[in-house]
């Protein structure tokens, strides 16, 4: 529930280690709400979220933050912290307020900066960066947490194509280490190329869950977005290209 309005109804979802899940759906379908419920920021009115077979309530705050990283659009009013400071705050779940950083922490920060390709920006205040660069800094913060579940809300929102491809490559590297990745993605074609599983949320309900090709070519997607979807097999590509036309068939 958000305020006094029920946003999600009867959504049931499971994430496996190393999985790449794209969460798609029309605007205001409840995708961001779902991501925040999964991360523990919002508590569901009914039902529960379980992590590693334990309900979220059974995990301490620090333990949860060490295991689940949420990468979401920044609150308005970019802080004037530097990129490095912001990424370093990703180590807070592991260090707490007082313990000084050790080699492992510095290594995690350095790795996160280099994976996202923003080492050159490390000393710059966040407020002087473009929206896309700030996005990458937030992602780096999430990587520095070294979580086992990475939840992303529109991570590619302000990224140019080069950075967008780099982002998904980083997500694949992270998955290779066993991290479960769920990302809200607006670009359906991009989502279909990257994800091995697509979950469609429409009107607060989960209307499709399966392989991206199956979901996009199914009736639920056409109805949710009000478009007709056509798949085009291309010999040089491993998966089909998609085109969309206004007006469902």
């Amino acid at each position: 529930m958000r305020g006094t309005r029920a946003v999600l109804h009867g959504v049931s979802l499971a994430l496996r280690a190393g999985e790449a899940v794209a969460l798609v759906g029309p605007n205001a379908a409840g995708k961001s709400t779902l991501v925040r419920v999964l991360s523990g920021l919002l508590r569901p009115r009914s039902g529960e979220v379980r992590l590693l077979d334990r309900g979220l309530g059974g995990w301490s705050r620090e333990a949860l933050a060490q295991l689940v990283a949420l990468v979401a659009p920044e609150d308005a009013g970019a802080s004037s912290l530097t990129v490095r400071d912001r990424v370093a705050l990703g180590r807070y779940p592991h260090r707490g307020p007082f313990r000084p950083f050790g080699d492992a922490d510095h290594a995690a920060v350095a790795r996160a900066l280099s994976q996202t390709g923003i080492e050159d920006l490390a000393g710059r205040p966040l407020a002087t960066l473009s929206a896309g660069e700030r996005q990458l800094a937030t992602l780096a913060r999430g990587l520095a947490q070294e979580p086992c579940v990475l939840l992303l809300d529109e991570p590619a929102a302000h990224l140019d194509i080069g950075h967008e491809l780099a982002l998904f490559r980083v997500l694949d590297e992270v998955r290779a280490r066993g991290v479960a990745v769920l990302a809200v993605i607006h670009d359906l074609a991009r989502a279909a190329r990257w994800a091995e599983r697509m979950v469609l949320i429409s009107g607060g309900r989960l209307t499709a869950d399966g392989h991206p090709d199956a979901v996009l070519q199914g009736p639920a997607a056409a109805e949710a977005f009000g478009v007709s979807v056509r798949a085009h097999a291309v010999p040089t590509l491993p998966s089909p290209l998609y085109s969309f036309e206004a007006g469902a068939k």
């Binding site: 990283a69 609150d75 802080s79």
Partner: protein, 327 residues
Amino acid sequence: MRLGWVFAVLVAAVLIAVTSAVAIGSVRLPMAGLVGWAPLEPAHQAILWNVRLPRVLLAAVVGGGLAVVGATLQAVFRNPLADAGLLGVSAGAALGAVLAVNAGWVSNVFLALPAAAFAGALLALLLVYALAHLAGRPTLHGLLLTGLAVSAVASAGLSMLLVATEEFRVKTVLFWLAGGLEGRSWPHLGVGSAFVLSGSVLLFLLARPLDLLSLGEDEAASLGLPVHAARLVFFGVAALVAGAATAVAGSVPFVGLMAPHALRAVVGPPARRLLPAAFLAGASLVVVADLGARSLSDRYDLPLGSVTAFVGAPYFLLAIRRSEERA
């Protein structure tokens, strides 16, 4: 290292300010005597130890404490122009203190004034917090507007109290409200420093949670910070420090705004650097302001609060203008 130089300059500034402020006054104390190169005559020693030193040190402590509170509130509210005054802290402290004066407690118990001021400051902050949370989790705007409302009510209560207060006490209250360190001595320094210094050190130690809060509630919560509890702790300590400072020095506005705002551009916003730097800058600022308050007029001590306001208000306007230009 650049940061090292900045802190060296800040410390030097405090030392120079303190030494100058101790030397200058209605009676000039010789510099040589002060630094120990020559013996100080007994009359000068009396002035130094009984009048100048406690007052100047208290100015430094008050200035440092107010600056640290300002920096803390700016991080919690994610607004570089937040100030204790905005959250009803100063008004609450003033109301508490005036209540204590009015009820005659102050003449009986020495610590009544700072205790009442702290209680007023903390109550104001808690009231702001509780009221803002009545309709669920408040937005930042909600918190600030509630602070404004509570300030207004506290000020109104203050005025009502003054009307009902005996005339001779009104003058005491008014002078105290205008801010000033006249007649402050070692007991004031002892009580003031105990609260201000311990509170400030606690805030220095909580630098990381403060940085987290400045990133925004959601991000802080997702990184494992208990956001509400953290805010309460910061409010409580801020009220303690601001309340104690207001109790000994009255209302000294804009220090909490100027010192952190100016230093942020130099040392950056991370609390582990900004809070100590702001403390040092605030200390120098109020020591110099108090010196000005004493020296600018031959006949009276000017109110300390007026001096900081005359400097702080233009600075504040400039800062607003700059931030709007940048936006």
